[in-house]
């Protein structure tokens, strides 16, 4: 007797169809699984046997062979349990094999026969739709998440028994318990109205949010760098549905999220001891890293100079390309990484450079610190602002803005950009390459002059010029102007990082 059921392997964050075939023939009772599975798949044998028996079915006393096809694809994790069990039941005639054809099955089994929570259901549901299957059986915890994919009927079950009942038609497929749109309640995000003083950093946050620019906050310990960065998501535009589904899929695959659509922009703040693989993704099987978890959101690196050089260097490709490629064996996996990078750093090892005489760092310390920060990553920071300790009277004053107010400005600026870049392949100013920048950034005469002077006097490098242009474009967008003025350009110059080549002083 032969039976077949569809399920999915998660390859990176993408679903790959896998057919579970079970063949039962007479012989000594054995149960073998072939098809390049990892340890979790091999152990699935014992889970499946126990689950079938504990659900009140019989495990066939004959030679059982299961194959996970295609055989060349490496399969990892316990997500094949339910499919294996149902295929065994179908092959042994305990559920109708014909009914199984319309279904995809996904989920891990417990020994008692319950379907356990299994990460990645959203990706599986997308695969189901792509494979042209009508129905997907998933663990109940994952129903709302899987239901985000339209065109697939989600069958949420709590146990193998329920799944079998659905197939035999004894109980009609139940719909997910809650409509997906109520989603996860937006958590009370920290608001900009908590901020007192900090006029410059607030402006920089708005510009960064409006143009999708990377931001480096520099300042002495305790001045509020982290506090400011945490409030950035509160002024970013909401995720579009497509973005939200992508974010949910990645978070689901990574196992850091269960149920419902993620509607808030992710904010990831990995600790500085993180490895390169942890940051951009990797491991066996490859899992998305923090950069992918921050997709469409904010990746915040606190104490930038403490991160390992290797980890920071690994961020270069994701920053540039918006995705990261991980090569494993003969396969290339792609993880999306369109995040805004926000970093915080002390200006020197002791943290007090610029604050009168409290800095006790020598020239060597400073240079070492700068070297740790410098290089290609720093080059990709569009904005560098110093966060100063607010004055006492500023702490007592009313807040300068609120997230709602700032967000309105950001949204208006983003709309202008979307209109301008409608079919250019970039979503915001920060994503423009130099070709797009040339086409879409109009300077008035004075601005051209100002930029020319800044460039001629060696205040800007070629790359710096490009970055200044994009930031200036965002400043004009925030102000609602079509042309970039000289003041915009000069402001962008002021918000840029200091030149690394400090000429004679660096000697």
């Amino acid at each position: 007797m032969l039976a077949q059921v569809a399920t999915f392997a998660i390859d990176g964050v993408d679903p790959r169809p896998v057919w579970v075939e079970v063949d039962i023939r007479s012989g000594l009772p054995t149960f073998t699984i072939v098809g390049l599975g990892d340890t979790a798949v091999r152990e699935s044998r014992d889970r499946v046997r126990a689950a079938i028996l504990n659900s009140g079915f019989a495990f066939p006393q004959s030679r059982v062979t299961a194959n996970l096809a295609p055989a060349f694809l490496r399969k990892a994790g316990p997500g094949f349990d339910a499919a294996l069990a149902l295929a065994v039941l179908a092959a042994s005639g305990q559920v109708p094999a014909a009914a199984l054809v319309r279904y995809a099955v996904y989920g891990e089994l417990s020994l008692s026969g319950e379907l356990r929570d299994s990460p990645g259901a959203l990706a599986v549901a997308e695969g189901t739709r792509r494979a042209g299957l009508e129905r997907l059986i998933v663990p109940r915890e994952r129903a709302r998440e899987a239901a985000l994919v339209e065109g697939v009927a989600i069958v949420a079950v709590a146990s193998l028994r329920e799944a079998a009942d659905v197939l035999t038609g004894r109980e009609s497929p139940r719909l997910p318990p809650l409509p997906p749109e109520t989603a996860v309640a937006v958590q009370a995000e920290p608001d900009l109205s908590d901020v007192r003083g900090h006029e410059l950093p607030l402006l920089a946050l708005q510009i960064a949010a409006a143009g999708g620019h990377n931001l480096l906050l520099e300042g002495a310990p305790g001045t509020g760098k982290t506090m400011l960065a945490r409030r950035l998501p509160s002024i970013l535009p909401a995720l579009t549905r497509a973005q939200a589904i992508e974010v949910t899929r990645i978070h689901s695959v990574a196992g850091v999220h269960a149920g419902g659509l993620i509607s808030a922009r992710p904010f990831r703040a990995p600790h500085h001891t993180i490895s390169a693989a942890g940051l951009v993704g990797g491991g066996t099987p490859p899992r998305p890293g923090e950069a992918s978890l921050a997709d469409h959101g904010v990746l915040f690196l606190d104490e930038l100079s403490e991160f390992q050089r290797a980890s920071l260097d690994a961020l270069r490709q994701p920053l540039e390309d918006g995705h990261v490629m991980i090569v494993r064996g003969q396969r290339v996996l792609e993880f999306p990484t369109r995040f805004m990078l926000v970093a915080a750093s002390n200006p020197c090892p002791c943290g007090f450079a610029g604050v009168d005489d409290r800095c006790s760092c020598s020239e060597i310390d400073l240079r070492r610190h700068r070297r740790r920060l410098s290089g290609p990553l720093l080059d990709r920071m569009d904005l560098l602002v110093t966060v100063e300790r607010p004055h006492e009277h500023e702490l007592r004053a009313t807040p300068l803005t609120s997230s709602a107010k700032a967000r309105e400005l950001v949204l208006a600026a983003r709309q202008r950009q979307e209109r301008r870049l409608a079919d250019a392949g970039a979503g915001c100013n920060g994503e423009m390459d130099s070709r797009l920048a040339r086409r879409h950034i109009r300077l008035d005469r004075a601005a051209e002059l100002a930029l020319g002077i800044a460039y001629d006097r060696n205040a800007l490098s070629a790359r710096g010029r490009h970055r200044v242009l994009r930031v200036a474009r965002t400043i004009a967008d925030l102000d609602g102007r079509d042309r970039v003025s000289a003041a915009d350009v000069m402001m962008a110059v002021s918000l840029r990082q200091r030149d690394q080549a400090e000429g004679a002083m660096a000697a």
Binding site: L200, C348, V385, T386, P390, M490, M491, V493
Partner: protein, 375 residues
């Protein structure tokens, strides 16, 4: 001595044997100098002792060994070693030996020179000013060091310093900016950039100026070599200017030597509340000349109004009224954006104007977002 006199025409470019031997001895007794200093001996007095008494005074347990080595010393080997290291020598018997330095007590027997012996003779014969100061100079101090060095080099003076981190290096760098020549006096062999991180600066210095040391090539740094180096800096210079020195700074040793030699001594005033300026303000209180710019130094050396600082060749444009006001505010201590905004300036206008000042080279941004006025 009679042999040397006969040999001199044959080897006009080297130090005489007895000076080479003395120089070797000083380096050989390196560890003992540190020891003597720790026991409170006065270095200048020790340096004045003739060879035999010097060994007797400080060699201690190694005396017999040093005496034997002293007898066996071969000047030709020492000269060859210098030659291999690319170091030229100039001894105090030579007519080219800097006159100002001869006057200093305990002046080094031999000066080891990288960058050209004749060039050094010419540079040392010109009017020279020492600019010294703290290793951990503030942005203000570094900027002042560069400003002074630029002005003085522009007026044709030689800038002498020690190539240490901070003020010293800024002085050398300022000189090089206006293509002036500068003398770096090192506490190790002159062939070796010290500190090593100043390699690039060292190369630029010896391109147009010289690096000098009293120690033969291959000598390592010793504690005593730093104050000893300072006496050479002061001795070479008609005036010593201290920019930022703490209360126990080595720059104060340079200042003391200059004072003892009856040379001019100047200091750049700093904030009373700053630890970095404690030493310089103390010098000023005791009667050192106030140095605000290169003009003050020229006045001190040549008499008021005798020599003028040539106009700055940097050609930065004039500053408009509004920018001037902002520049004054930055120079007056409101040197961060926060401070400027707190004084009632609008943020966005200030950012724009600061960029203008920065682009035109009037201000520079430092670590910590502090703006420094460039002069």
């Amino acid at each position: 001595m009679s042999d040397e006199a006969a040999e001199q025409p044959a080897a006009p470019q080297g130090a005489c044997d007895s000076c080479l031997r003395r120089s070797w001895l000083v380096a050989r007794l390196g560890a003992q100098f540190d020891f003597a200093r720790r026991r409170g001996r006065d270095l200048p007095l020790i340096f004045d002792l003739p060879d035999g008494r010097l060994i007797a005074a400080i060699a201690g347990g190694t005396r017999s060994v040093v005496e034997r080595e002293y007898e066996e010393f071969d000047p030709a080997t020492a000269a060859a070693r210098c030659c291999v290291a690319g170091v030229e020598t100039l001894c105090r018997c030579d007519a080219g030996y800097p006159r100002r330095l001869v006057a200093a007590p305990g002046c080094p027997a031999v000066l080891h020179i990288v960058g050209g012996r004749d060039r050094f003779v010419a540079l040392a014969a010109a009017d020279a000013v020492a600019i010294v100061g703290a290793r951990r100079g503030s942005a203000y101090g570094l900027e002042m060091a560069r400003l002074l060095a630029r002005g003085l080099a522009g007026a044709g003076l030689t800038v002498v310093s020690g190539m240490a981190l901070g003020i010293d290096s800024a002085a050398h760098a300022g000189t090089l900016e206006v293509e002036g020549a500068t003398v770096a006096v090192l506490p190790v062999g002159a062939e070796r950039p010290y500190p090593a991180s100043k390699r690039a600066l060292y190369r630029r210095i010896v391109d147009s100026g010289v690096a000098v040391s009293e120690l033969p090539p291959g000598s390592d740094s010793r504690r005593w070599a730093f104050p000893a180096r300072n006496r050479i800096i002061a001795g070479l210079s008609a005036m010593t200017v201290v920019i930022e020195a703490g209360e126990r700074s080595g720059s104060l040793i340079t200042a003391a030597v200059a004072e003892d030699l009856g040379r001019q001594l100047g200091a750049v005033p700093g904030r009373v509340t700053s630890r970095l300026s404690a030493g310089t303000n103390e010098l000023l209180a005791r009667g050192a000349r106030v140095v605000r710019d290169a003009g003050d130094v020229l006045d001190a050396i040549f008499g008021v109004g005798m020599r003028a600082v040539p106009t700055s060749p940097t050609g930065r444009g004039a500053v408009g009224v509004e920018l001037r006001e902002l520049l004054d505010a930055v120079g007056g201590g409101r040197d961060t954006l926060g401070a400027l905004i707190r004084s009632g300036r609008p943020l966005e206008l200030t950012l724009t104007q600061l960029a203008e000042l920065e682009v035109c080279g009037h201000v520079r941004r430092e670590a910590g977002g502090r703006y420094v006025v460039r002069v």
